[in-house]
């Protein structure tokens, strides 16, 4: 990983520049310019107009709702991710590939469908609708529906991250701990969790950034009640539809900044994780193929 590579294993300077240039051109077309457009639109009418967008009480409520939804959805998926990764990587059983595929499934399901299934389940015309109606329990067009849809779309991220990580780590350390007399929970808390904590955090960050940004699925189950069931992405859509372009893009730009911040944290996390893995790798040389 050191920057200094020998002449034989790197390219001449002009090739390097060409490749970097090509990569940057691709990023410019598909990433920089569109993101730049968000900021350009947000700042079109100057800083005061930009800041005014955040003084809207509905904006504040949308942020609070989004935070609440994220705080409810992500920990549940973290819990699930740990359980799934433990079962899948520490044991052998039939249908493992099928199970992993099913865990991945929400990732590629259209958000329209992700929302629709909860309508089919909890909607008044849905399977559980009449039962819920009798008991006046509201799931969709209320917080639980939004949380469920968010859990659904962020379902695979923690599990996926942990499965990959725990597979390469193997179970030698856990087995050693057990043979030294530790019980299952102790082994998990003292051995496994410290080993996977960075991967866990990384997965949680991915899930969080996706949860904050989810639009399609939440849109179907939210009911769009202003100040009540509008998350930040939905609120952005509303402002945009009210021709309040500056407001819409201002909030969007804040989401971009938040995302950058979380992704910055992620980069640090990743670096630590890698350092840790290197340390582990040198401690357990039999793992390198």
């Amino acid at each position: 990983m050191s920057g200094a590579r020998s002449r034989e294993t790197t390219e001449p300077a002009w090739v390097r520049r060409l490749l970097i240039g090509g990569a940057l051109a691709y990023l410019a077309l598909f990433l920089f310019v569109p993101i730049g457009a968000v900021f350009a639109e947000a700042l079109k009418k100057g800083i005061p107009a930009y800041l005014a967008a955040f003084r809207d009480p509905y904006t504040l409520k949308a942020f609070l709702l989004t935070i609440l939804v994220t705080v409810l959805a992500v920990p549940l998926n973290v819990l699930f991710g740990i359980a799934a990764a433990w079962a899948i990587t520490k044991f052998r059983f039939r249908g493992k590939n099928l199970l992993i595929t099913l865990i991945d499934l929400p990732f590629s399901v259209s958000p329209v469908i992700s929302g629709l299934i909860f309508v089919l389940l909890f909607g008044n015309q849905g399977l559980l609708g009449p039962w819920l109606q009798e008991r006046e329990i509201r799931i969709i067009f209320a917080l639980p529906g939004i949380v469920l849809a968010t859990i659904f779309v962020t379902f695979p991220f923690v599990a996926r991250e942990l499965i990959a990580l725990m597979q390469t780590q193997g179970s030698e350390e856990e087995e050693a701990a057990l043979s030294l007399g530790a019980n299952g929970w102790q082994t998990f808390w003292r051995v496994t969790l410290p080993n996977i904590r960075w991967g866990l955090l990384y997965g949680a960050i991915l899930a969080t950034s996706r949860a904050i940004g989810e639009f399609g699925a939440v849109s179907v189950v939210s009911g769009h009640i202003r100040g009540k069931t509008n998350t930040v992405p939905l609120h952005i859509e509303i402002l945009y539809n009210e021709y309040n372009f500056v407001g819409a893009f201002a909030i969007a730009s804040l989401l971009v900044l938040t995302a950058l911040l979380t992704l910055g944290v992620k980069t640090v996390v990743q670096r630590r994780a890698r350092a840790e893995q290197d340390r582990l790798g040198s401690a357990a040389p039999e793992q390198t193929p």
Partner: protein, 347 residues
């Protein structure tokens, strides 16, 4: 092992129960909900500005009359989408949608609303009307004056998708009605005209507001088919120096309908206030507000007062030309209907 699986099942159930409990635990953003009556109005996109004013005016009036604090919450979206949300359980006390068909759909598909809802309020439960006009770029560079000009070579027309937007269905029907009125006009010529018209449409946004943005912000197209009130609003908000309105010779009387949702109001005990809210729309104050937001008022006196802002257009009705919404919907917009045929290959 069995006990473990049982434990796991309990854990799973707990996790899902947690999300349910959360609903009860989190207040709806109003800490003093006990002394406040809350009304939810599910409406379509272009009425945001109107109902902002109506809600404030009515809440003040209601407070003066009954002493009750009233909070009116708004939900906006495409008309059909909103109808579906109500059918699926969105607890709206009143619905104020783009067309009677969508409220009929609620009545038919869920029974939440009495089937005879349209006769419960005056004017077939449409307190204000609107029509479809053209929004063109300043100076009308393509010289568009009437429906016939829309199919001239090189003219691009922007309208939302009639399959997903209530407003777009009015656009389509208005064009059809105009073609019928032409010399020798009949169903065939009307169909040919509408087919030709949609060949001039480069973008079909899913909703009315999307189309307006495509036309105004993206600069696509020469003419936007829009609700009259939307066109006026777009001009006011987005630039009087950039756009102007052209009124066609014939257009359709668009009647956005309102009603209260019987089952919801009954259960929530909001029957009286929901009814009063909708009746307020018919009062002088309500009609004034409608006119201020460029909806055509029903009240003759107020309509006369604001006559200057509404161009004279000959208006045909959906009942008169299309024998009502259910038939129009089935014939033109359902899957396999006339609208779909426009896009069928080989034509």
């Amino acid at each position: 092992m069995k006990r473990r699986i049982l434990l796991a099942l309990v854990l799973g159930a707990l996790a899902s129960a947690l999300t349910l409990i959360a609903d009860r635990a989190i207040p709806n953003g109003t800490a003093h909900a006990a002394v406040k009556t809350v009304l939810l109005n599910a409406s379509y996109d272009p009425t945001r500005e109107l109902y902002q004013d109506v809600n404030a005016a009515f809440a003040a009036q209601w407070k003066a009359k009954t002493g009750q604090n009233l909070e009116i919450q708004q939900s906006h979206g495409g008309s059909g989408k909103q109808a579906r949300a109500v059918i699926d359980g969105l607890e709206a006390d009143v619905v104020t949608l783009a067309l009677a068909y969508d409220i009929d759909a609620i009545a038919k598909n869920s029974g939440l609303i009495a089937a005879d809802w349209q006769s419960r309020l005056p004017n077939a439960s449409a307190p204000y009307t609107s029509t479809i006009v053209f929004l063109v770029r300043k100076g009308n560079p393509k010289g568009i004056k009437d429906w016939g000009d829309l199919v001239k070579p090189g003219v691009e027309v922007i309208t939302p998708n009639p399959k997903t937007s209530g407003g777009a269905r009015w656009n389509y029907l208005a064009a059809w009605a105009w073609a019928l009125r032409q010399p020798g006009g009949n169903d065939q010529t009307a169909q040919a005209f509408v087919t030709e018209l949609f060949k001039h449409v480069p973008v079909l946004d899913s909703g009315a507001r999307g189309s307006t943005t495509t036309f105004t912000e993206r600069g696509i197209g020469d003419v936007l088919l829009a609700w009259e009130n939307e066109a006026v609003l777009a001009i006011r908000v987005l630039g009087p120096e950039k756009f102007e309105i052209v009124a066609p010779s014939v257009s359709i009387l668009a009647e956005p309908s309102v009603t209260w949702v019987d089952r919801v109001t009954k259960r929530r005990g909001t029957e009286a206030v929901a009814k009063a809210y909708l009746e307020f729309l018919y009062t002088d104050a309500g009609q004034e507000l409608a006119a201020k937001h460029y909806y055509r008022p029903r009240n003759q006196a107020i309509a006369a007062k604001y006559a200057a802002q509404f161009p004279t257009v000959e208006l045909v009705t959906i009942d008169g030309v299309f024998e009502g919404w259910p038939k129009a919907q089935k014939r033109h917009f359902d899957d396999g209907g006339l609208f779909d045929r426009i896009y069928q290959p080989g034509r």
